[in-house]
């Protein structure tokens, strides 16, 4: 992916979030129409607000959350979503999953988590692999990083 400016980044984040939100809404509406509508209006509304206010931190929060949501889809729905994303953006969820894994590898190599954003990234990875016996070694390494950060991080509301 090539980004040419900060404005492009804001625009990309907004469009990416909205595309996935619409897709997830069509699934959620089968669970509960009323709450699915609330989900749609809140995610689109807050994304537009963050975009208009140039709130990059907020946009990235929503971006990470919606990607996590999408990664929890079953394979059939995930493939359908990836087709849409590939058609519109030229890449799908795996592109960012790869970037996330690279970031986690660099944290592991460094041997410590440096901030809350990294903590959340590692924590989400643990959530993805904790039940996979083949990834026990990675799980132990990440757990150690999480525990170390939690023991040293002064609890603050951030």
């Amino acid at each position: 992916m090539k980004r040419t400016s900060k404005s492009d980044e804001y625009l990309f984040l907004r469009d990416w979030i909205l595309e996935i939100t619409r897709f997830l809404y069509n699934i959620a509406v089968k669970e509960n129409e009323e709450l699915a509508s609330y989900f749609l209006s809140e995610f689109t509304g807050q994304t537009e607000i963050a975009y208009n206010r140039r709130n990059l931190r907020g946009l990235k929060c929503i971006f990470n959350d919606i990607n996590d949501d999408a990664n929890d889809l079953d394979e059939i729905n995930k493939n359908s979503l990836n087709e849409i994303l590939n058609g519109k953006f030229g890449f799908g969820l795996e592109y960012f999953n790869g970037k996330t894994l690279s970031k986690i590898k660099s944290i592991t190599k460094r041997g410590r988590i440096e901030n809350v954003d990294e903590y959340r990234l590692v924590s989400e990875r643990v959530e993805r692999i904790y039940a996979d016996d083949k990834k026990k070694e990675e799980l132990d390494a990440l757990n150690s990083l999480l525990a170390d950060f939690e023991s040293k991080h002064k609890p603050i509301n951030d």
Partner: protein
Amino acid sequence: MITGAFSFLFNERLHRVQDKGDSDGADPWVAAGTVALSLSAADGPLLFGDAIGSVVLAGAAVYDLTQRVYVTYILHHPNGQVYLGRASGFGTPYQVMMRRYSGHERRKDGFANPTLDRYAHGQLGRHAIRGREQQLIDYFGGLGHPKVGNAIRGVSQYNPMGRYYHTMSNQYFGNIAPYTGYW
């Protein structure tokens, strides 16, 4: 799904946790609280007495175990502290919690005795569980409170979706703590 047969348990649990008087009451969705009873959510069986718990477990058995389930749980430290967390996976909610606990990073610190709090299925349930985790942290006093072993919030205060997750949790499980995010 919480059926009519379980609704009294749901309300009983709500009353119990709301005795602390933390309900913010300002949320427009709270007025539509009965919606929660028709959603894919149920009370954590371990918070009830054994007799009641077995009824809830029987109800839980009708779930599609191939569907991802989202749970919140509480770990207990001998010094009285609690650690509040969430997990997801396949199987019964209890199995998911125990599997997560088996490799939990805070076990080495002495946190043990995992207790299932709530669980839900589906995309919307995922969001409700996110809000529930944060409400649990706030219910026990929030970050920095001597009772709370968490060092990191469940949902960042800067997350624009924080209030949405909070509201979804209210819808599914009832409110147990006021909203503490910025947005």
